[in-house]
């Protein structure tokens, strides 16, 4: 059995960034760009006397799913929490730039280009955001990514995959929110402020960051699916994520616009209604919101098998 076949049934949660990148696209189609052999590692970590990674903790490249070119960014949580520094930030930004430029070139070169032949971008998030060892460079890279997302609008759909150990927090939390579509597993976590910082800010009585169940209820995949921040909730295998990406990849870019949570005056008005509900409810727990969404026994939603959850859960509509 090939490595690719073997990867498909791997837990997405347990997989490293390169395996996720390889396994998401068709077998044998992935070309890594600025890979470890280019040895582009962080000069800033070196200056601090810290270990470096030859890929700076971020895999970038291009592959294919069927007829669709798929640009890939995949973050490695095992290297300094998947944090974004100068090199990784430049790799992430430039992958988006390459996808946009390739789109423009294909449109110009092929008058009969079909929707499914246009490129998409997939980002597998595993990060807490800015790398503190080179924080200013990491911060500026985040801004470049947000700018490029807007430049990609109407051209290259951006698909987020969130189901890795570190989750997706800090600046990368809003980077993910700004993409077209978010696919999560129930083990994925998405937010802005990490649990420890909320505890520090609000006190342990209000938010106990060591309470794993509470943390998952607040930022985990099931909650994010109920509240509408995740468009799709899939099983924890590379194959399950890949299957969803493959289903979305051939869709016209307009279909992706409809999946967005923010990015237009209309979506902002919808979110404003959600914030009004937050002000009115002041939920003590995410389960209060699940009940508000029409789930009669919210506590039961946490532990039931995924298929049963997807079969019966009611999602919030505002």
């Amino acid at each position: 059995m090939s490595k690719w076949n073997d990867l498909q049934e791997h837990s997405f949660l347990e997989s490293n960034a390169r395996d996720r990148a390889l396994g998401i696209v068709d077998d044998g189609t992935f070309t890594e760009l600025a890979g470890p052999f280019d040895r582009l590692s962080s000069p800033h970590l070196e200056l601090l006397g810290d270990a470096v990674a030859f890929d700076d903790g971020l895999v970038s490249g291009v592959g294919r799913i069927g007829k669709t070119p798929v640009f890939v960014v995949s973050q490695e949580g095992r290297f300094i929490g998947g944090s974004i520094g100068e090199v990784g930030g430049a790799k992430m930004a430039n992958t988006i730039k390459l996808a946009i430029d390739f789109h423009d070139k294909l449109v110009a070169d092929y008058p009969d280009l079909s929707e499914e032949e246009k490129p998409v971008l997939v980002i597998s998030f595993e990060t807490g955001g800015v790398r503190l060892h080179e924080s200013n460079a990491g911060l500026l890279a985040h801004a470049e990514v947000m700018d490029l997302f807007q430049k990609a609008r109407g051209k290259v759909p951006v698909i987020s995959l969130i189901g890795s150990k570190v989750g997706c927090f800090g600046g990368m939390g809003f980077v993910a929110a700004a993409t077209d579509v978010i696919i999560m597993s129930e083990f994925g976590r998405l937010g802005l402020t990490g649990p420890e910082v909320i505890e520090q800010e609000m006190g342990k009585e209000e938010f106990d960051s060591s309470d794993r169940a509470l943390v998952f209820r607040t930022t985990g995949g099931r909650h994010k699916y109920i509240i509408g921040d995740a468009n799709f909730l899939v099983a924890d295998t590379i194959a399950a994520f890949r299957e969803k990406v493959a289903e979305l990849a051939p869709l016209p870019v307009a279909a992706f616009e409809e999946m967005r949570r923010v990015g237009s005056p209309e979506t902002v008005e919808r979110q404003v209604r959600g914030v009004a509900l937050a002000a009115e409810m002041h939920p003590q727990d995410a389960r209060d919101v699940w009940a508000k969404a029409g789930n009669d026994d919210p506590a039961s939603l946490t532990d039931m098998p995924l298929a049963a959850f997807l079969g019966q859960v009611k999602r919030l509509s505002v």
């Binding site: 601090l48 291009v62 070169d109 490129p119 939390g173 802005l192 402020t193 910082v197 979110q271 937050a278």
Partner: protein
């Protein structure tokens, strides 16, 4: 450099210092209401005249407190604030959608924010969407031709600076003698978290601005275009930058502005030297395989 009285917490005063006297009309953009009076009090938004021309103002108000969301005070951007700011941007786009490029109103962001709302309710409802929404709106307005200038008067901290400031065409900052803070976190906290001696970090940051804190280091990194030395200097500097941004947009030089433009500036000023090299390697490697990913005909 003589120490000056800080402008921290004085976003509303800064509006008056910058715009034509008495011209600020709060909560209205393009003749339409963008927010109820007490909505998202951490941000003061509206329309003013600058040198006789209409501009949209989006300012941090560090003196306010949001009663509905108690983590929002001292200039923190909460969920209401982010969407209120985004609405002001979309209202600017809507008001000028049929106007030619040189008549699209400028947006002036007055930046004094220590963070994004860090609460449980914020995480349950998705604070990340609010800050993301505002950034996408700013990027859309910038790419549509509106000149956007950010003026850092106090604190521009981490994700809140990304939200309110880093999507501008140009970023100006009051110089370090005003106690201006631009960073992800103070060097003392960085030292504790990454477990390096503060002295070592301080020494390294003299030559390497990626570790350091303050407007001067951001200037070297290309994260701030211009340092402004007096409060009186803010108004003329903003007017001047709006004019030069308009010129660049008219000439189709959008890539010299905004985050992408600041990437080039960072390399030019020697602050982010590896970024262009990384991109160059990727571009060459992709060029060599691009045909494999083009449709087979």
């Amino acid at each position: 450099m003589e120490a000056q009285e800080t402008m921290m917490g004085k976003g509303r005063e800064a509006i008056e210092m910058i715009v034509d006297p008495g011209s600020f009309e709060e909560n209205t953009v393009g003749g339409k209401s963008v927010a109820e009076e007490d909505y998202g009090p951490g941000a003061a938004v509206g329309t003013a005249k600058l040198d006789g021309k209409e501009v949209t103002i989006i300012a941090s108000d560090g003196m306010s407190f949001n009663e509905r969301f108690p983590v929002v005070y001292a200039g923190v951007i909460g969920m209401e604030e982010g969407y209120k700011m985004a609405r002001s941007v979309y209202a600017s786009l809507e008001a000028d959608k049929d106007k030619p490029l040189d008549e699209k109103r400028a947006l002036v962001l007055i930046v004094d924010t220590p963070g994004n709302g860090p609460g449980k309710v914020e995480e349950i409802f998705g604070m990340n969407k609010s800050t993301g929404a505002y950034q996408l709106a700013l990027a859309e307005a910038r790419l549509a031709g509106h000149p956007i200038v950010a003026m850092v008067i106090g604190r521009a901290v981490s994700g809140a600076f990304l939200c309110h400031g880093l999507q501008a065409d140009n970023i100006l900052s009051l110089d370090a003698n005003f106690g201006t803070i631009i960073h992800v976190m103070p060097l003392t906290s960085v030292s504790r978290i990454i477990r390096k001696d503060l002295e070592v970090l301080e020494e390294l940051s003299k030559d390497n601005p990626v570790f350091a804190s303050g407007p001067r280091f951001f200037h070297t990194l290309g994260g701030v275009e211009t340092l402004v030395e007096t409060v009186e200097g803010m108004r003329p500097a903003i007017i001047e930058h709006i004019a030069s941004i308009r010129k660049a947009k008219a000439e189709g030089k959008q890539d010299t502005l905004g985050p992408w433009g600041r990437g080039a500036l960072g390399a030019e000023r020697g602050g982010r030297a590896l970024r262009p090299k990384v991109m160059d390697v990727m571009n060459k490697e992709f060029e060599a395989v691009a045909d494999q990913y083009a449709p087979a005909r």
